[in-house]
Assembly symmetry: C2
Homo-oligomer: 269 residues x 2
């Protein structure tokens, strides 16, 4: 772990990341000592920082510090956390502050290969996402809704949890974005009121368009999803998982999901 | 500062309080080395911990550790943070974990005495609170909405910011609870969908009832507030501040507010 440029594991207990969740993060795959799509990850980080009016460290500093980690850990999952650092007491951000940057690498989670090829079973969460347009799409450190949702199931047969918002719209899963396939077109939830807009979601949208497949960002109801030809989940770490089973939904063929999985894997970085 | 029973200023960067805001806190006045209403504060802490299915440390441990701080800092503001500690990667809480407890005391903020006697000017925030019944009322560490709201004004003439929810109901201020006075009755917003239920709010409700003053927990629109006889803000640190001015609202007499202020000050602890 590298904190503000130095090896270490400890942060100040007055860091606003801890006090208020006043910060953002990114989770990225590390393969052969490299981070695929690094520039797009950095762009996302910058975007999310600016949503909180938070200074994003220069790309070179982060890349240099990450390379210290990837050198000794060439395979795994890298995480960058940027917080507004320590400051004066109270919610109002100081004008003068030094952002905290925390970089770490953890081992690649041990997901069975079948998750990608044969799909996963998904729990439909009771926890609903609240609407907050000011924070929607941003990968910030206020993640209690995800924690509450992920605590809903302990049955290891479920690999993810589907999240609806308070109005009943389908938004995402607890740690991945969601697409549905209907008549060879893609549909993915609009994230302008809640949810996290992951980079893998952007990649799928972009790739579908480049391959001439229709992809619509829209409002989805649970009924739409249960009636879909295919549903799949994406993030940078899992790649793409077709959904095999949810309450009221069962599929065993995922031709479009697997085609897109192929596109994602074979795109040059 | 005392962290997990030991003097220190540092926490593990993998603490879930930092990663996800997975924890709760309390802010309490310290006077003459004592914390007024300590048992009620602890009950609130316990309640908030249980909302997150988080183990609350025993009252004796916290009291003993706080007394180490209040001994050397007999006047100020104490803060207790309880987090779900470090854990395995991912949102799902581990079954086995060691809660982190962070206790600190900071100096009493230097508010002019006129805030209590002559009232304060309040900014009406554009940031709206999202609805999340699962977390409503709880003083948890996901406080980005408060940060965004408090960042809205820099004019020092404003002492607080009024927060409405996404449906337009008045809920609270960024760091205090709100009451309105109309025809010698009190009204305070219902916090079952968002907001933080502070201890001072409970005390006002309780004291009003004990003194035979009607106090209704209800849904309030901004129009109701602007039409009130008096509006006041409460928390443990500020005590009670009448509202002197908001956009569309100006008052210079606060008889009921000052009566309740008197009740709060004179109640035996």
């Amino acid at each position: 772990m590298i904190i503000n440029g130095l090896p270490g594991e400890l942060v100040n207990a007055n860091d606003r990341g801890l006090l208020y969740g006043d910060g953002v993060f990114r989770t990225m795959l590390v393969r052969n000592g490299l981070i695929p799509h690094w520039h797009q990850h950095y762009n996302k980080l910058q975007h999310d920082c600016s949503a909180l009016a938070l200074d994003c460290p220069p790309i070179k500093n982060l890349a240099d510090e990450l390379s210290l980690l990837t050198h000794s850990h060439p395979e795994g999952v890298a995480k960058i956390i940027i917080t507004r650092g320590t400051g004066t007491r109270g919610y109002a951000p100081s004008v003068q502050y030094q952002a905290t940057r925390i970089l770490s690498i953890s081992p690649f989670p041990n997901y069975p290969a079948s998750f990608s090829s044969s799909g996963v079973k998904v729990h439909i969460c009771n926890t609903r996402l609240g609407l907050q347009p000011r924070l929607a799409g941003v990968k910030h450190l206020n993640r209690l809704e995800n924690v509450l949702a992920a605590a809903e199931w302990s049955d290891a047969h479920f690999s993810e949890g589907l999240l609806l918002d308070e109005t009943g719209h389908v938004i995402e899963a607890t740690r991945s974005n969601l697409f549905m396939v209907k008549n060879n077109s893609l549909f993915t939830p609009d994230l302008s009121r809640c949810g996290v807009a992951g980079l893998q979601r952007d990649r799928v949208i972009d790739m579908a368009r480049r391959h001439g497949m229709k992809c619509k960002i829209t409002t989805l109801q649970l009924e739409n999803l249960l009636d879909a030809d295919e549903v799949f989940l994406v993030n940078n770490v899992i790649g793409l998982w077709p959904v095999r089973e949810m309450t009221g939904y069962k599929r065993n063929k995922f031709p479009v999901s697997l085609l897109i999985q192929d596109w994602l894997l074979n795109e040059s970085h």
